[in-house]
């Protein structure tokens, strides 16, 4: 069975179909010419009226045949490309499911272990409290994972499009930092706004929060510095605003930079079992940037040298701000 595996390989089938198609085109033309010369012979022999049989010119026939074959060829090619894309997506999804179930199983295992321990043994109060702390942390981990999947579903459904709100971005980021201070208590997050004035943009607040959460948790999670730090810089450029997130984390290697925004992509490989995380965080962040008509770029000087993520968003012009500023909210869809 294994010996014939190559036979079913899409690349082989693709090449085989092209060869078959080319061969059939050649044969069509060859036979056509054969038949028409034969016919001509018959016509000459019996001295019939040639216009009755040979109205169509040879080159027209060849041209039509070639066009048809070219169309079939294009079709085969497109199907081949789609097939390859589907395969790739399928493989990535399977990877994702594998690592995601691992992410779900780990906190569940820990929870089950402690619950069974409590059922079996009477532990001193301080021990119990410590382990309950572990369990709460595990439940939070589970919730995070579930939320990530829900976020993905929400973003892909496109149901948020009417929720644009005009707001001061500096204030929004400050607000996010304040309300999530306990999540980042071991890290230092600094906001720099050299312009010193509010910068207004049109955003979906829940998605902006999701974006900040993904970027900041990444910066803190993939970080080996004693105090993980992120500098958030607001850089206005004409009618655009650049939001730079500079961290002192483990950095990203050059070849990885192209891939990190791909859906389900994880740094590390499943073969050596180092891949961790869902492979969704940065994909979500980039989708959020696109929904806001902006973009997200990553740069890094390499491993151990930190990373910089830059979000570029359209800035509301001062004129538009004066005209619409008072209403505070507007619909964009």
């Amino acid at each position: 069975m294994n010996r014939f595996k190559w036979f079913y390989h899409p690349v082989f089938i693709f090449v085989f179909s092209i060869v078959a198609l080319a061969a059939s085109l050649a044969l069509y033309i060859y036979w056509y010419i054969e038949v028409s010369t034969g016919l001509r012979g018959v016509i000459e022999k019996y001295q019939l009226d040639p216009s009755q049989f040979l109205e169509v010119q040879t080159w027209v026939v060849i041209l039509v045949l070639s066009i048809l074959v070219a169309i079939i060829l294009a079709g085969v090619f497109i199907i081949f490309i789609y097939n390859q894309k589907t395969l790739q997506l399928y493989r990535m999804q399977r990877n994702f499911i594998n690592s995601f179930t691992h992410e779900l199983k780990t906190p569940v295992t820990s929870l089950k272990l402690y619950l069974e321990t409590f059922a079996k043994h009477e532990l001193p109060r301080e021990d119990r409290l410590r382990y309950v702390g572990f369990m709460i942390h595990d439940v939070e981990r589970l919730l995070d994972n579930i939320n990530r999947i829900m976020d993905l579903a929400r973003i892909e459904s496109g149901s948020y499009r009417k929720d644009f709100v005009e707001t001061d971005l500096v204030g929004a980021v400050e607000q996010f930092r304040r309300s999530n201070a306990d999540l980042f208590r071991n890290a230092e997050i600094r906001v720099h706004n050299p312009a010193g004035k509010p910068l207004r943009g049109s955003v979906i607040p829940s998605l902006l929060d999701m974006f900040l959460m993904n970027i900041l948790t990444n910066a803190v999670k993939y970080n080996k510095s004693s105090v993980p730090a992120v500098d958030i810089r607001f850089v206005p450029r004409g009618n655009e605003l650049q939001l730079r997130f500079e961290d002192n984390g483990i950095g990203i290697e050059k070849p990885e930079l192209r891939n990190i925004f791909k859906k389900f992509y994880q740094v590390g490989s499943t073969d050596d079992m180092t891949a961790k995380g869902s492979g969704l965080g940065l994909y979500l962040a980039q989708q959020i940037a696109k929904i806001h008509r902006g973009k997200l770029d990553a740069e890094s000087k390499g491993r151990g040298k930190g990373a910089v993520f830059t979000l570029t968003l359209p800035l509301l012009s001062p004129g538009a701000q004066a005209a619409e500023g008072s209403s505070g909210q507007r619909s964009q869809s």
Partner: protein
């Protein structure tokens, strides 16, 4: 249930909560338990602390669990090892068993089942240990191995070969065992480093090449045209010989 007495158990597990929960339960059972949170420190603790049983996770930072298993099995065929992994697919179970694990439990697991399996492994290790003084017995190849006019004696750490009688270092013995167990199979430089030395993949692979050069000098008729220790371009090495 037979009481096995106080035993040393090493838990190699990267999730701190699970590791701590296992340690707690094993010490409540009256055992000494230690935790290693990544592959390299797991291997180090196995060498230094000489535990009676190892509870091993597969997905680990540094060196993965299966490589740790293979590395331990090169030196110690008897040490009971139980894999505790979130990977429940038959593929991984079969791999683990093929590399010589004694038991395989997938996460999430039942605590009582885990503890009973651990006790059982310890009991059986206690039986096997009697009348068999040499722990750390020899892995698969047997005490003496011969190929193409060369004879390696794993007990005396010597080899009779083209170069005459040579004595072998412990590291050379480990690496030779690894090659012999995997005869005919390609071993990548990374595998050789992780299993043979217990290094992480970041270590420069010149180390491996240097050992291969030495092996060729010992065992090959013509070290420049190796028959037994063949290299596979930019991947690693294959050891093979005729029956």
């Amino acid at each position: 249930m037979m009481e096995t007495g106080r035993k040393r158990i090493l838990i190699i597990e990267d999730d701190a909560h699970i590791a701590e929960g296992l340690r707690l339960n094993l010490s409540l059972k009256g055992h000494d338990a230690a935790i290693a949170l990544d592959g390299p420190s797991g291997l180090r603790q196995w060498k230094e602390w000489r535990p009676d049983l190892i509870v091993l996770d597969i997905m680990l930072p540094g060196i993965d669990g299966l490589s740790i298993l293979r590395s331990i099995r090169l030196e110690d065929e008897r040490l009971p090892i139980l894999i505790l992994s979130a990977k429940s697919e038959p593929e991984y179970r079969v791999k683990g068993l093929a590399y010589g694990v004694d038991d395989y439990l997938s996460k999430p697991f039942n605590l009582d089942e885990f503890l009973l399996r651990v006790e059982r492994l310890l009991t059986r290790a206690a039986w096997g240990g009697e009348g068999d003084p040499a722990r750390g017995g020899l892995a698969a190849p047997g005490p003496v191995y011969a190929f193409g006019g060369n004879v390696i004696d794993f007990e005396k750490f010597t080899a009779r070969c083209r170069a005459g009688e040579v004595s072998l270092t412990e590291q050379e013995i480990r690496l030779l065992k690894l090659f012999i167990i995997n005869r005919g199979k390609l071993l990548s430089r990374r595998e050789l480093l992780e299993i043979g030395w217990g290094y992480t993949g970041d270590t420069p692979s010149r180390t491996v090449d240097n050992f291969i050069v030495r092996f060729r000098k010992y065992f090959e008729d013509n070290p420049h045209q190796p028959k037994y220790f063949r290299s596979v371009r930019s991947v690693g090495y294959v050891f093979d010989h005729d029956a």
